[in-house]
Every structure is written in structure tokens, then in C-alpha cells.
């Protein structure tokens, strides 16, 4: 390696390293945190260090061993209120009644401050005799867990440790995945349905007309998503412009509900993502030699046949690229469904936001996030292989 190439490499490294380091710390480390937090949950292990060393002799079905009772008492005495509070909140979320049981028990222990006094847990509260209570604690003592990833699919481990379906009254997560996929597939389909003819039209005209058609696609892309969401809100109200037009033209007797419905969310998402379909397809279409379709016609193909056998196969790359882009983006949507949708239109992102901002259940939010990120990355890799335009916004 000559001194000159080495110098050039050093210069490259010096120029690249600030952004590489920045993204490493503030993009990859956060994503890594999500992965870790999805499978690593020390909340309960931290609160019960003594208990985790004394559960070995227990057969899971019978009453707790005296060792375990003493260990639990030692933990309740030794753990700080904050750490214990986190653990109790988590336990209470898994099986209700833990909060009252724990506060009753800690009160009883405070009444007997001398560690030498024996406290009988079963005398404090009979619920301590129930092996299921103990299982709830013992099963969560290991900080590494697949519980949250399983819960994302409404699965759990039963008392024998085998994977089983959650009871329907607690199974609430997987429905968000199916809904997200159904809505995203609908949006992708609509984008193809409108975007393909639109791109064909834009590719078939020249000059000012083409500029107008492309500008109509680009302007929305430049416009704030909140402005678009508010505008859709105005349009879709019961006394809004769409219903005004429908009633005014006699197409409908009464207002058609659009706001907070699936139709409204799909429509607004299609509007938002249509450019990502039109542009890749357009790019592919303008590269097709202009004499192919006339040639097909000259050889006797009717327009439909020529479209099906000549244009569509050539445009397929653009359509697949556009579809991947649209689908990949729409499964991560949060803002539009939050503003324009009802509870039945919230996608996986709002479930994640709910777990993290409202319920403060980070592991659950992380597990769902990890799965969403995994799906998106896979689609991105496929997209990169086919790749026409990597840029999403410009």
C-alpha cells in the first residue's frame, strides 16, 4: 500500500467516523436495546435474589418449602421499596391480587422488625399456600425470557413449560399483526390499482402534461403529514366535504361514516403512499423503448393482450419495488391511524406506543418492536436486491 493510498484511506476514515459513531450510539445501540429488553427482564430477579437461590427443592405443585418462605421474607426485608414496587407491578399484571397480597405481607413484616422473629406467611395470608402464586414468582426469576416474544403471538408457557395458546380473554396482541397486514395489503393493492395506470399515463404524455402529473405526485410528498391528516379529517367529517358532495349529488341519502372507519384510514394511507408506487413504476416505464407497444400492435396483439404480455412483464420490477416500499412503510404507520382511525384501526405501532408510553411495559413494547423491525428489515433486504430507487422521500 503506497503512502498516498494510505493517506487517502485515513482521510476517508476521518470523514466517515463522526457519522458512523453518531449512528452507532444513537441508532444501532437503541435498536440493540430493544432487542435486549425484549428477552431480558431482570425486574423480578432483582427483587428476589435470595429466593432465586432456594427454589431448587420445590416440586412446583405442592406448598412452598420452609426454605422458600424464609427466602421470600428475607427478600421482602432486604429489597428497596422501588425495586420491589416494580416487581409487584409486573406480578400483578400477570396474575391479579399480588399488589394487595404483597402490601399486606410487607405490613406484617414491618410489625415484626426483628429478623429473628419467625413469621408464618400462610398465617399472614392464606393465599401464600397456593402453589400458583409461587409459580408466578419462581417462573420469572430468570432474567432471560421468551415470555414477551411468545406473548406477541398470544402464546405462553403453561405450567409444564410447553408453549400453548393464551386464553382468549388475554389474547390481544396477535390481532394487531393480522390487522396491520390486512390494512397494509389493502393499501398496497389500492396503490397498484391507482398507481400503475397513473404511471402509465404520465409515461405516455410529454412536456407540460407530464410535469403536471409528476408534480401532483411530488407536492403531497413534500407536504407535512399533519397537514394531510388534518385535511382528511375535514374532508371525512359527517358534515365534511366528501359527505357534502355525496348528499348534494344525490348519491347518498345520509352522511356515510368515514372518520374513525377502516375506509377512511385505508383511503388516507393510500393517498400518503401513492407516490412511492407511482415513482418507481414511472422510472421503469420511461426506460421501456417506445416502439414496443406499436410493435405488439403491428404483430396483431389487441391493446389488452399487448399490455398483459409486453408492458406488464417489463413494468413488473417497478411494481414489485413500489409494492415493497408501500407495504414496508405502511406496516409502521402510527400517526394517520391515531388521528383518523377508531380503536379497530390501530396498527401494531400504536400497540407498541401503548405498551411503552401508557403501560410502561418496556419488555412487551420491545418484543413487538423487535418483530416489527425484523419484518421491515427482511422486506428492505428484498427491496435492496430488486432495488430501483432506495430513497424513500426524494
Amino acid at each position: 500500500m503506497s503512502a498516498r493510498t494510505r493517506r487517502r484511506l485515513l482521510a476517508r476514515g476521518a470523514l466517515l467516523s463522526p457519522l458512523v459513531l453518531f449512528l452507532f450510539f444513537f441508532f444501532f445501540v437503541p435498536l440493540f436495546n430493544v432487542m435486549r429488553s425484549a428477552i431480558y427482564d431482570p425486574v423480578i430477579a432483582r427483587a428476589f435474589p435470595v429466593l432465586s437461590r432456594s427454589v431448587e427443592g420445590w416440586d412446583r405443585a405442592g406448598p412452598p418449602t420452609p426454605d422458600m418462605q424464609e427466602a421470600l421474607i428475607a427478600d421482602l426485608r432486604g429489597t428497596t421499596p422501588e425495586v420491589l414496587g416494580d416487581a409487584v407491578r409486573r406480578l400483578n399484571g400477570m396474575s391479579s391480587g399480588f399488589r394487595s397480597l404483597m402490601s399486606k405481607t410487607t405490613r406484617a413484616l414491618e410489625a415484626a422488625p426483628d429478623p429473628a422473629t419467625r413469621v408464618d406467611l400462610l398465617a399472614v395470608d392464606a393465599r401464600w399456600g397456593d402453589p400458583l402464586r409461587w409459580q408466578a414468582i419462581v417462573d420469572n426469576l430468570s432474567p432471560y425470557t421468551d415470555r414477551f416474544l411468545l406473548a406477541a403471538f398470544d402464546l405462553e408457557r403453561d405450567s409444564t413449560g410447553a408453549i400453548a395458546a393464551m386464553p382468549p380473554e388475554r389474547a390481544a396482541n396477535f390481532a394487531y399483526f393480522t390487522r396491520t397486514f390486512v390494512i397494509s395489503a389493502l393499501v398496497t393493492g389500492l396503490c397498484i390499482l391507482i398507481g400503475l395506470p397513473y404511471a402509465m399515463l404520465a409515461a405516455s404524455v410529454r412536456g407540460r402534461q407530464r410535469q403536471l402529473l409528476l408534480a401532483a405526485v411530488l407536492i403531497p410528498m413534500w407536504t407535512s403529514i399533519l397537514v394531510r391528516a388534518s385535511s382528511w379529517f375535514i374532508l371525512m367529517q359527517d358534515q365534511g366535504l366528501i359527505n357534502g358532495a355525496l348528499i348534494g349529488s344525490g348519491l347518498s341519502e345520509a352522511a356515510v361514516p368515514l372518520l374513525f372507519t377502516r375506509t377512511g384510514v385505508v383511503l388516507s394511507m393510500t393517498h400518503m403512499l401513492l407516490p412511492f408506487m407511482v415513482l418507481p413504476v414511472f422510472n421503469v416505464l420511461v426506460a421501456i423503448p417506445g416502439n414496443l407497444m406499436p410493435a405488439a400492435a403491428a404483430l396483431g396483439a389487441n391493446p389488452l393482450r399487448a399490455f398483459w404480455h409486453v408492458l406488464l412483464p417489463l413494468a413488473a420490477r417497478g411494481i414489485v419495488s413500489g409494492s415493497l416500499l408501500v407495504f414496508m412503510t405502511s406496516i409502521g404507520f402510527y400517526i394517520l391511524p391515531a388521528i383518523l382511525g377508531g380503536p379497530a384501526e390501530q396498527l401494531i405501532s400504536s400497540l407498541i406506543a401503548m405498551y411503552s408510553t401508557k403501560a410502561a411495559n418496556w419488555p412487551m413494547a420491545s418484543a413487538l418492536g423487535l418483530i416489527l423491525f425484523g419484518i421491515t428489515s427482511m422486506l428492505y433486504v428484498v427491496f435492496g436486491r430488486i432495488g430501483t430507487t432506495p430513497a424513500r422521500r426524494n
Binding site: F26, P197, I219, L235, I352, A353
Partner: protein
């Protein structure tokens, strides 16, 4: 017949694309306090509320602080990286594309969860710096793309000529390369500013009551109480977008002008 169908489809599609942009704008000047049509009279009261009401004033200020800092951070980091990637081929170029463009693809809510987990530990939650860092992460790809495109458009002969005329590499960079790349850098900074101004999710996750931006406030108002101030903000946003777009087109034209000489 086919022509007619084409015309009708084109018209409908353009309407579908454009009407939802502008449907809200007239309501900014409506004097009714309900955000809906028909308009009852013309008034500027929502604009004055936007600049006088404390929460909105605060939100505008926050948007500007966060947006402009993001634009500065992102354009510095992005420009350096684009210079480092310049002229690279093969593995390095692929690596750059993979790493630098990835923030555009990661689902924003997932990124929000990860940053929240990390920022809590670093004490960056509910701080300006935290929000600015988050916005920089998602807007830096636009700078890399736009500066890379500008650098790729520079004729290497110009830099060789500068070197032949005795300029040091440093002088060539400062007096030839940088001025030629400037429109791309500015365009990238504008993209970054626009991204930050429109960002809701990360602000929601990482910002506290003190960092409520205009976009964040608008999101909250849209979900809670629909005030016509939303229409006024939308109007400001659209006017801002048009201005930024115009600056961008102007920059692109001036670059062409400089590179090719005046058109006839």
C-alpha cells in the same frame, strides 16, 4: 373514447392527490370556532391566536430551536460522511448506503422505544438535546443523499485544473469543491429542517412538556379538541413548504447555471 377515459382518470387522480392537501386551508380564515365547512365569515383570529396564545407560541419557538439545531447537526455530519464516501465503489459504497440510509427504514415507533430506553439511562429524556439527537438520526440520510448527488455532479476536471494552477488540496477544497457542493448541502439542510418540523413520534416519546413542538401540539389538538388554530398552522406549514421548495428549485437552477453557464 380511450382519450376521454385517460383524461377523466388523470383528472380524478390529480384531484385525489391534491384536494386533501388544500381542503383545510380556507378554514384558517373562517371566523367560526368549529373546524368545519361551510365558512361563516372571514377573519384572521386564528392566526392571532397562533402567535399570541402561550402554548402555540411556545410550540413555534420549540420547533424552531429543535428544527434549526437538527439542520445544523445533520448537515455537518451528513456532509462529512458524503465527502468520505465520495468516489467510493464496491464494498465501501455498499456499506455507506446500508448504514447511512437505514434510519429511513426502521419503523419510527421502534426507534422511539429504543431511544427512550437508552435516553432514560443517559438522562436525555425530556431534554432539547435528546429530541435534537433523535431528529438528527432520522434526517441525516437526506443530507447524505443530497450532498452525495451534488458531489457526484462535480466535474473532476475543475478540481484537476485548480490543482494544476498551483492550488493546494486544501485551497481546492475550500474554493472549488465546497462552493460547487453548497447547493446540495443547503438542500440537505432544508430536508433535515422539514423532517424535524414534521416529526411527531420521536418528540412524543422523548420530549417532555417543555419540548412540545408545533407538530406535537397539532397532533395533540387533532386528537383532543379540534381548534381552528390547526387550520392556521396547516396554512403556515404549506406556505413554509412552498417557500422551502422554491428555495430548493432556485438552488438547483443556480447550480446548473454555474456548472453550465447561462442558458440562452
Amino acid at each position: 373514447m380511450l382519450r376521454l377515459w385517460k383524461l377523466a382518470f388523470g383528472l380524478l387522480a390529480v384531484l385525489f392527490l391534491l384536494v386533501p392537501m388544500f381542503a383545510i386551508l380556507p378554514l384558517a380564515f373562517n371566523d367560526s370556532s368549529i373546524l368545519t365547512y361551510p365558512m361563516t365569515g372571514v377573519s384572521m383570529r386564528w392566526f392571532s391566536e397562533l402567535v399570541e396564545e402561550n402554548i402555540w407560541r411556545r410550540a413555534i419557538l420549540n420547533s424552531l430551536i429543535i428544527g434549526l439545531s437538527t439542520a445544523v447537526f445533520a448537515s455537518v455530519l451528513g456532509t462529512l460522511a458524503a465527502l468520505g464516501l465520495r468516489g467510493s465503489t464496491g464494498r465501501l459504497a455498499r456499506f455507506g448506503n446500508l448504514i447511512f440510509l437505514m434510519p429511513m427504514v426502521a419503523p419510527i415507533v421502534v426507534l422511539g422505544v429504543g431511544m427512550q430506553l437508552m435516553f432514560t439511562r443517559l438522562g436525555l429524556n425530556n431534554t432539547y438535546l435528546g429530541v435534537i439527537i433523535a431528529h438528527t438520526v432520522i434526517s441525516v440520510p437526506f443530507v447524505v443523499i443530497s450532498v452525495s448527488a451534488a458531489l457526484a455532479g462535480i466535474d473532476p476536471a475543475l478540481e484537476r485544473a485548480s490543482a494544476n494552477l498551483g492550488a493546494s488540496p486544501r485551497a481546492t477544497f475550500v474554493h472549488v469543491t465546497l462552493p460547487l457542493a453548497r447547493p446540495g448541502i443547503l438542500a440537505g439542510a432544508i430536508f433535515a429542517l422539514a423532517t424535524s418540523l414534521d416529526e411527531v413520534v420521536l418528540t412524543l416519546f422523548l420530549g417532555g412538556a417543555g419540548q412540545r413542538t408545533l407538530a406535537r401540539e397539532m397532533f395533540a389538538q387533532l386528537r383532543e379538541n379540534l381548534t381552528p388554530v390547526i387550520a392556521a398552522v396547516s396554512f403556515v406549514f404549506i406556505v413554509g413548504t412552498v417557500c422551502l421548495g422554491a428555495v430548493n428549485v432556485f438552488l438547483r437552477n443556480s447550480r446548473r447555471f454555474r456548472a453550465e453557464g447561462p442558458a440562452e
